[in-house]
Subunit: 232 residues, 2 copies
């Protein structure tokens, strides 16, 4: 009773597919750089680390963009996936919290090969405000609403300490932001209609620890030798 109602999946692309499209896109762009004109589902799937049936099913949700007996035209598929993901338009991003993490995000130029523009950086620390990071001047977080509005920000990234994250989230929403990427280790509460994604280092480590423990104990299985290299 605490989360969003089951969205009626009206002719939409499955979430699991959406989550993989960026991976396919990146693999395709690598092929593009090597001037490969076409690619089979088998080859593209290998590059993306999935199996080919899944890849074909995923792509089939976008339309019928392959040619039987041949494969997919790389350039065309790049365009179709980009369009589907909304990367043919530009998205303005604001990052709140310019510590090491915020700086890493700001400097990470390869924002999925364009589509995203850093429009604002925000911090509360007077020692950081006024500095220039990745060619953008850091503004004071007190002016968040004003800065976010005037820069037309549509995606807010939260890289602040946990204690400030909820507050910053609500202020982003207040300023009209409806997409939030949260790196702070807290569960954010936001109004309906706001999309929040979470990235959490310590959760990932804990999941790894669980599997590592599994491998080590219990059923007597030891890490198997491994015959070759397999994408994961």
């Amino acid at each position: 009773m605490t989360n969003r109602p089951p969205r009626p999946r009206g002719r939409g692309i499955p979430d699991a597919t959406v989550a993989r499209l960026p991976v396919y896109l990146r693999a395709l762009q690598a092929l593009q750089d090597r001037e490969t004109p076409t690619v089979s589902s088998e080859a593209l799937a290998a590059a993306a680390g999935v199996n080919s049936a899944k890849l074909r099913k995923d792509l089939s949700h976008l339309g019928s963009y392959g040619t039987r007996g041949v494969g997919y035209e790389v350039e065309y598929l790049v365009y179709q996936i980009s369009r589907e993901l909304g990367l043919t338009q530009d998205w303005s991003v604001a990052i709140a919290g310019i510590g090491n993490l915020g700086r890493a995000l700001a400097d990470y130029g390869g924002f999925g090969s364009r589509g995203f523009r850093i429009a604002a950086l925000l911090d509360a620390d007077p020692a950081v405000v006024g500095r220039t990071v990745a060619a953008v001047e850091v503004g004071h977080i007190d002016r968040l609403e004003e800065i976010v509005r005037s820069a037309g920000v549509s995606i807010g990234v939260i890289a602040t300490p946990a204690a400030s994250a909820q507050d910053v989230a609500l202020r982003f929403v207040e300023a009209g932001v409806t997409s939030i990427l949260n790196f702070a280790p807290v569960v954010l509460s936001v109004p309906e209609g706001v999309d929040v994604r979470k990235v959490d280092l310590s959760i990932e480590l804990q999941i790894l620890a669980f599997h590592a423990q599994r491998r080590a104990d219990g059923d007597g299985r030891r890490p198997v030798g491994g015959t070759g290299l397999e994408p994961v």
Copy 2:
């Protein structure tokens, strides 16, 4: 044909559940700090941002740790989840790539409230090697195997540029690491039996962009006003 065979789920905890246990754990630790002795599935679920049926089903996979009519004893549940996740033992972590991101990870002391220890930091840049970050001296990546082995590292974190990530991954594996957390935007190939998890900023942004675009165009739905605050 390119990925791991379907693991026979022999009396194991579902992956989806494992991924949520750390969230429950964090919520429980917050309750512990406030000295709350017991909690209902309803209340804990709200704090974790899931619904209560899911929470109960998740916890039921660990055992029968609640009391009907009452709820769960916070302390006891913290212990059980910690044990299940393997956090009652210590895990040594090595971080390769001490740029802004690597530094952010190293400085992020709150590694899920203990359980993880930074045992080694590695970089290729002579300007960084020898420096001390988070009380650990940065070693040269050329000595990875040696350092990783002698420090007994069991989890490797890759925060290098994309170009070096695959190489570093194989050297981690070579040195006996079987759990890898990858922040570089590449699909890693590793031998069977090695567990890789990926965290990818630009993929998250692209997923947000997809949903933002959905909201904006097509079916005419505009971002709804939102009646109240709902965890996400």
